[in-house]
């Protein structure tokens, strides 16, 4: 009985390549009362640092892994329980967790991601699926969530969002054409073409209807998908979406496409964040590795033409949304320098959330706000 009331805080899997994380600092102390959504602990991965949020209400009874320790994904790092759970029961859970840590065993089943590719219109589209229904017949449930990254991004950019959402939903993240591990041919590179890829992905994965989430260019793509096939889309969450107003950092878009060296790319990437220290050596290196692959250069240049008309935005997502019946939530970083949130207001987006302390990469800088937005959109759009 007591076992059900003891919750194990485990090392999250932020991104498909993460196998372990280092605890840099505990934000809460043993004995602290914690609530769902509270930041518990700062964790550093090879790629990026982030705060792990609580998914329960209760008391943080014991910390198992101290600051400074490196812990495999899935291993217990702390134990949460109500005050009435006895110390003996808590200690038993802690002892078990310590044993596992010492043996280096992690609970792999908690963090399973299914990765693969599907064929859509002659292109190979890569994806990662996490959560309920991942694996055999994945995505058959009505509440599947599909995450679509932005220009130059990939499915791994949802690392702080996909895993937490997967506790309640099947969550698919895909690589758009020209990105990640998908085919690099973007065709004409139009929004309509990419929206067809998203809808083709739903077909290929047997997903009847989905909650679509898109960042930046991906926001414009999912809006176009919802306009083209309204019956397939239950809700939209647009994260710093392209196509609201005409202001855009055109120099960033062109510079990202043209950059071939670390010294060219790194200063540009700083513009993506409110906190530029998030641009790590690993992030720059990963993006350079992506940009060097044959066909990426042509794909990015084509997409720049889709996005820009001179130094202004070419696309108009606000107009597209006019014909979309499903609930739509828009999340935007107040300090977004790539697509400043100046042209969006209650007339263009009914549910608009401006997030402090976040730049264009809201889902990396304030992932909690993005997760909440998705959850609210999903709730509003569920039958």
């Amino acid at each position: 009985m007591a076992e059900d009331r003891i919750q194990r805080v485990t090392m999250p899997k932020w991104g498909l390549s993460m196998t372990a994380g280092t605890i840099t600092e505990w934000i809460v102390a043993e004995g602290d009362e914690i609530a769902k959504g509270d930041d518990l602990v700062e964790i550093d991965t090879e790629k990026i640092a982030g705060a792990l949020e609580s998914t329960w209400d209760g008391v943080l009874r014991r910390i198992v892994a101290a600051a400074g320790s490196s812990v495999p994904v899935g291993a217990t790092i702390a134990v949460v329980a109500d005050p009435e759970v006895s110390d003996e029961d808590v200690e038993a859970a802690v002892a078990e967790a310590r044993e596992q840590l010492a043996a280096g065993v992690a609970e792999a089943e908690e963090v399973g991601a299914e990765v693969g590719t599907v064929q859509v219109d002659g292109r190979s589209i890569a994806y990662a699926t996490m959560g309920e229904g991942a694996g055999e017949g994945a995505g058959a449930g009505a509440d599947a969530i599909v995450l679509v990254h932005g220009y130059g991004g990939d499915k791994n950019s949802w690392l702080f969002v996909q895993e937490p959402l997967s506790h309640q939903h099947a969550v698919h993240a895909l690589d758009l054409p020209g990105h990640g591990e998908s085919s690099k041919d973007v065709g004409a590179g139009s929004l309509e073409e990419m929206a067809r890829v998203v809808l083709g992905f739903l077909d290929a994965r047997g997903i009847e209807r989905a909650h679509l989430v898109g960042h930046s260019l991906g926001g414009a793509v999912v809006a176009a998908a919802a306009a083209a096939a309204p019956h397939r889309v239950r809700s939209l969450t647009l994260v710093a979406p392209a196509g609201f107003g005409s202001a855009v950092d055109a120099e960033y878009l062109r510079g990202f496409a043209a950059a071939t060296s670390r010294r060219e790319l790194k200063p540009l990437l700083g513009r993506l964040f409110a906190d530029e220290s998030l641009v790590t050596r690993q992030l720059v290196d990963d993006l350079l590795r992506y940009k060097r692959i044959d066909g990426v250069d042509a794909a990015l240049r084509r997409l720049v033409d889709t996005l820009l008309d001179g130094d202004r935005q070419r696309i108009d997502t606000a107009a597209v949304l006019g014909g979309v019946p499903c609930p739509t939530v828009v999340v935007w970083g107040r300090e977004d320098r790539i697509l400043p949130p100046t042209a969006v207001d209650a007339t263009t987006a009914a549910d608009l959330r401006l997030v402090d302390g976040a730049g264009h990469m809201v889902h990396l800088e304030r992932p909690g706000e993005v997760r909440q937005a998705v959850q609210d959109a999903v709730a509003a759009g569920s039958p």
């Binding site: 060296s261 050596r281 290196d285 060097r292």
Partner: protein, 341 residues
Amino acid sequence: MTRTISYREAINEALAQEMERDPNVVVMGEDNAGGASVGSPGEADAWGGVLGVTKGLYGRFPGRVLDTPISESAFIGAAIGAATRGLRPVAELMFIDFMGVCFDQIFNQAAKFRYMFGGNAVTPVVIRTMYGAGLRAAAQHSQCLYPIFTHIPGLKVVTPSSPYDAKGLLISAIRDDDPVIFCEHKALYDLTGDVPAESYAIPFGEANVVREGSDVTIVAIGRMVGVAQQAAAELAGSGIQAEIIDPRTTSPLDEDSILESVESTGRLVVVDEATPRCNLATDISALVARKAFGALQAPIEMVTAPHTPVPFSDSLEDLYVPDAQRIVNTVKAVAEWKRDG
């Protein structure tokens, strides 16, 4: 898609993908196709070169993997001539130590054509060659001769330190219109690492920041990059954070990345397996002394082989090649150096 493959497999994959992409790419060298036990020459690729790097290519690209006589002066000259006439030959010169017999073809012909013919001729040849100590192969099969090629204008010189770099740099080498000396360290062939299955090109003259650190800059070449990483891990335990720069190509050299790093750390140690006169360590030391003098907080140090041939004795060869402990000791001395001693 990214998988873990070896340095040897990465080079093989780069050759195969470029041969697939461009019918003008041909591979030639000693035992690249045939081998000792094969019935008639070129019937099957028994060997794939002395270290098996080109294995499997003969069957996939009939007529484009050529076995040559044991005459480096002849087949390197043939490769260079073919390059001027439109092919993109990748010639395998087994040991870099054998370059001596074909040096006129390389430094007086290939390196000069573009310049002497006013840009009207190009020589897109790649010479893949094995260098370095560690295989008990003695004085005539163990040298690090990339500094000699770096010295010559008109040649590009590549020294990949990882499977990822080996593939991307070889693809760039094959696509490049100038002669490229592609130096593979013989002790790295079995090193494994993450390599994308897709084709990709790493631009020349773009250093890799292998590790970030604020206390000292280590510039390391080829196999020494991995040795420097071991040293940096040990130094971190003593509270010294080393930044490691791998230039990837010694010509062209990414001077900016080296200078930028030294400007932030104030200290430089260059690790080069080549003998210490006129090598990359002296070249990079001179560069930093001239262009970042004001940033230096300690003398520049070099960790290199001694100025002797590579010994045949196992124990002496082990002493000859710079190891992590020598790098650690040198970096500590540089980090603790004070002006008034």
